[in-house]
Amino acid sequence: MKIRLGISFRGGCCVGALMVALAPRLACAALGEPESSIAGDVQHLKGSIKSTARSNYRVHEIQLPSGTVLREFAGVDGKVFAVAWSGPAIPDLRQALGRYFDVYVAAAQAKQGTRRHLLIEQSEFVMQSSGHMRAFSGRAYLPQALPSGISADEIR
């Protein structure tokens, strides 16, 4: 691996504002952020993307170099309301969760020892993560931002 675009994005996409001048195509398409910025995720994560329209939301599926697939779900309002992943590696969750990354870390620290399951259930943020080395899966979503008629079970 050569030097990754990495260091500039240290701190996650949401420090991105600083970055914009330097790398205008990069932005953060994390949970709760605009769908228009998903292209920035793809670039940051060095993935390839496939997008699919569903009844009242769109799914952007990013194939990561690690072999893991990251899916970002965006509503008609253009906001990312959920992310889900599955594959051999945990994805870059700072990028995927954006402002909610710190919520995830705080909750995980409060429950140390839980290395094969994680369940965070807050009014504005839900995250479920499980699996073992070679096979992880998980999802995070904003319950209050779910499009009407969408069940959380569709986020996978």
Partner: protein
Amino acid sequence: MQNVARMVAAGLIGLSSLAFVSCGGGGGGASVAPTPAPTNPSNVVSVIVDAGPNNSSVNTLYTTVTVCVPGSTTSCQTIDHIQVDTGSNGLRLLASVLTLNLQGATASDGNSLVECTQFVDGYSWGPIALADIQVGGEAASSVPVQVIGSSTFAVPTNCSNKGTAEDTVAAFGANGILGVGVFEQDCGPGCAPPNTANTFYYSCSSSACAEIAVALNSQVLNPIPRFTTDNDGSILDLPSVAAPGTTKLTGSLIFGIDTQSNNASGSETILAVDGIGDFTTVFNSQTLTQSFLDSGTNGIFFDDTALTTCSDPNFKGFYCPAGSPSFTATLMGTNNTNIAETFTVDNAQILATNNPTFSVLPTLAGTFSTATSSNTSNTFDWGLPFYYGRRVFTAIQNQRTAVGTGPYVAF
């Protein structure tokens, strides 16, 4: 009560350094022993379920491992409370309990090889080192292991962006982890050339760490296939426990399958597992294709939206039903073998509150999901309570036993 909430799983982890992975000693009940006394017979090591180094573990299985500087019979250290984990592969030691100076392993480019071991809730950053490993009377030479918690190299952003660091005995609930699952390597082909961007392995120089692919035999290795005998798998043999449980439990980890009189295959059902170590569980009409047996999970974990979950935040993720409901699930191997399993779930909060000294809770169970969503993970995780009262065979990939070729589990 946080006891239960605290310890769910098993895993791995690590942290580390350069040429020599040394660690600051102390802690954890580790001690130096030049010559470990083998148990008898030599392919058996004692295992125990107890409260662990944090005095808070539940359904967590431990053993004692001796590590030596490769080739040395005197530079050795015996470390207790190493978690026995059939859900991972390879030995990982917490640097804070390691007093030996183990030689660090090098990546293919000659730099230091460091791993970002990943869990669902974080990562462990630490160097790979080579050690001779003795467990019971079995020995493996110059095996790559991970040393957790002593870092010479800064954690790369790519690794720290997985979550929170897990690199202390307190975070781990163990002095290390002995991964004795169905695979030879921890990561396997996904981290071998040409898969540079695997996000697990890094080549670290004094200036930077970069992702790197690692040949299979240089990855962290399950020590069992490296034993000279009894190297095709293992058997966990734990006594049965009546609910609500007991303070602690002692059993055996037996090495080898069909290699000695004490590890012969009998009438067990063999469940072959897929390329990631999983089989299928059918439960409540759900077909859960990413199911696994895991001595490193401290309960039975599955989704049943009809079963009441605990409302107390200290028991988040565990079930708290009224009464003691029983369930039946069917486990299906990739070899199309089926076997039904019945299990009982008790109220986790009542179990822990009424039995504060119990480290063994056979009816502890939990969920992956929330009240408003279900079945997200396609997983049924048969944790340590599944192992109580039976002999569970774990046959390693590519290893031939009298009744089949690994990877498979049987019981």
